[in-house]
Symmetry: C3
Subunit: 293 residues, 3 copies
């Protein structure tokens, strides 16, 4: 069993993972379900946050990590991705966690690789474990998932936005996209609002979900950077457009004082560090499901 | 006890390692022989395949890895190799696995280092664990080692060819070298044929052993690259020069469509992934012998 | 409980760590005090020696390591140090070991981070575990710490010199600084002698503690490099300025034939490798104190 896309999972699957994640979170020591198992983390694109979260989860369940680091590898000698994976698989390992720049690569690799693959992010396409940790965090906070969520920022280039939106829609969530028109798709099935007005997007929401925005991309916009900040940065002023009960989320790593202000990220309204924490436990739940089965 | 060169081992030693490797391979979980042991992997030359295979083997036997990464180390601050090893040894570790560019360096280091050293490849000289995994794979497939083996490619620059040839000759194997004359030695004790004709080399063999060839080296040959492919690439056409029972082996990482064709590497005749798998288990057998004793 | 500076510890604390380190050193297998614990090594400045010593110590006590490598991390994406640490802390880890270029950074981080921080070296400020391993080595050799110690080299830029001096002074040690005036402070509370004469500095000492000297810094001195060697290099000739019972120490990595001669570093008078060995065990004692409590 793999986890390539959030849409591989049913509502029941997702609720099972969320509940199991919250169980794991409460335990002082988790059961050593992965004892004797070897998980390869193969991040063809650098990522510390997601990789170390997986390492923490794997080791917390008693599993062993084989960390393939692309930059010092045979890839530099001309080996293809799939040859690398088949070679690593031949070392009698139990699953892969992959990260890759090319959209859809993990889905292609499944035609060749027999052990389970967990997609740790492919290009602008999918990041299912991020969606699961986000849903876990929302469910933990609100006790339900049919929430109103405004996703703000560079949505077009975001696998996080894509996976999260698909997940929320499965549970009857209302999703809104907000950003300059260069950053949002013209349309997206099931999304109730696509707008360049933050005020409109944040009206009545439960969650303000800010995305990381690359400064270089802002600089290419027709508006100047100060106007971008004024219109789209989430800070103590702009968050007042949302109801008082609304929370701030962000997948990290964030750019302080770009898409979010310095002083709001660790404020009481922010669930950002809870997302990181739940990342460990929802990945444990995914690993149990994918490798334990 | 060290493993610096394949010639450190007797026939009995090698057969012991092969049989133990095949035993380890059958076990669902290997005995935790290395519990409480610390093995340092010190790869002064980058290598993913060999290093991760050792990590898999060490951890599979319950040992712990200390991974010394040269590129971010004190070496950049001017420390010599031997000072690095003596420093790591002083941390109360149980063995080294080393990889280094300079021929003979591990043999020199033995004058200073007290814990066992396993040579994971030194320059163009020795790669004994590669030879052991190759012999294990041949023995597993054929049930014997007095085989006819054609090694094809850049033999002059290959520690793999050197160690494997020495190993095969100990068991009465018949070894042939094949490549353009710039790639083969003028003579080599015990080798029955050194030729630039693939047809001649593959006639009647049991194993076609293709070596990785660097494109830059091909480009320096007097023949052009298309002629190189036509004359030396192992593909579905050229492998017909060998008997039907002959198998293809390669130490990896391979260059698709350079020394081997894309479609032959994972064909039924190819033992390439079996080599990788047996690499883990023959390294376990080596570790047991070197560290367990 | 943290370990940010050697001055965080009382004399009793230090003697407790030294005695426990020497106990750990005698054990064939140390108690698995860190079972189920996760320690993050976050070295924002590269260091192999200190990091691997901590890895050895953590794993030797049964703990698990999460190794944050700054160069391939979100830091390159603009994340600040403190955001990185808060993110890692949110992954439910038990302590940090940090190394950083900026003086005082670990002390600042303590205002944000709740889990213990062990300072693995900040700029030219503090390196408390180095001081502890040095004191352990001196105590093991001499049975007391009210020793006469000459520190020779680039003292101004050395956190090692700073922490060690503070530690020795707590035990009534007599500390002398020696180097060209560009390398030594004009004054330092409690230090009995600051001199540019090696002969004067080494007269009657128990320990000659040589510091690593960067060649580029020597080249900026008004004296030429040969004169630097003649006046400050510790070698078989210059060490005769010290009594026969005096020992040589160095924090490593050393520059052979710069601040110390090639042939003296592994001589009988040298405790350099004992320092490395005691580094593992004094770090175990620190980890037990910091994380076990």
């Amino acid at each position: 069993m793999d986890l390539l896309s959030i849409t591989d999972l049913s509502r029941d699957d997702i609720m099972g993972i969320i509940n199991r994640a919250l169980e794991f979170k409460k335990m002082k020591k988790q059961p050593q379900i992965l004892d004797g198992k070897f998980i390869v983390t193969a991040f063809f694109e650098p990522s510390t946050r997601t990789k170390l979260s997986f390492h923490r989860a794997i080791k917390g369940l008693g599993g062993k990590v084989i960390d393939f680091i692309a930059s010092v590898s045979a890839i530099q000698k001309g080996e293809t991705d799939i040859d690398t994976l088949l070679t690593l698989e031949a070392m009698d390992i139990d699953a892969f966690v992959v990260r890759v720049r090319r959209n859809g690569a993990p889905m292609e690799w499944k035609n060749y690789v027999k052990v389970p693959i967990i997609n740790g992010g492919d290009g602008t396409n999918q990041h299912p474990t991020q969606a699961l940790l986000d849903l876990t965090t929302m469910y933990e906070h609100f006790g339900r998932l049919d929430l109103k969520v405004a996703i703000v920022g560079d949505i077009l280039h975001s696998r996080v936005a894509n996976s999260l939106t698909q997940g929320l829609l499965m549970f009857g969530g209302k999703v809104r996209f907000c950003g300059p028109k260069e950053f949002v798709p013209a349309r997206y099935d099931g999304v109730e609002l696509i707008t360049d007005s933050l005020e409109e997007a944040l009206d009545g929401v439960d969650v303000v979900y800010a995305l990381r925005v690359q400064k270089e991309r802002i600089e290419k916009l027709p508006i100047n950077i100060d106007e971008f900040f004024r219109r789209y940065q989430i800070n103590h002023k702009t968050i007042k457009m949302a109801p008082e009960h609304a929370v701030l989320m962000h997948p990290g790593p964030f750019n302080r004082n770009i898409e979010v202000s310095d002083n709001i990220v660790y404020s009481e309204r922010s669930l950002i560090l809870q997302q990181v924490k739940n990342g460990v436990y929802s990945r444990m739940a995914v690993l149990e499901r994918v490798v334990g089965s």
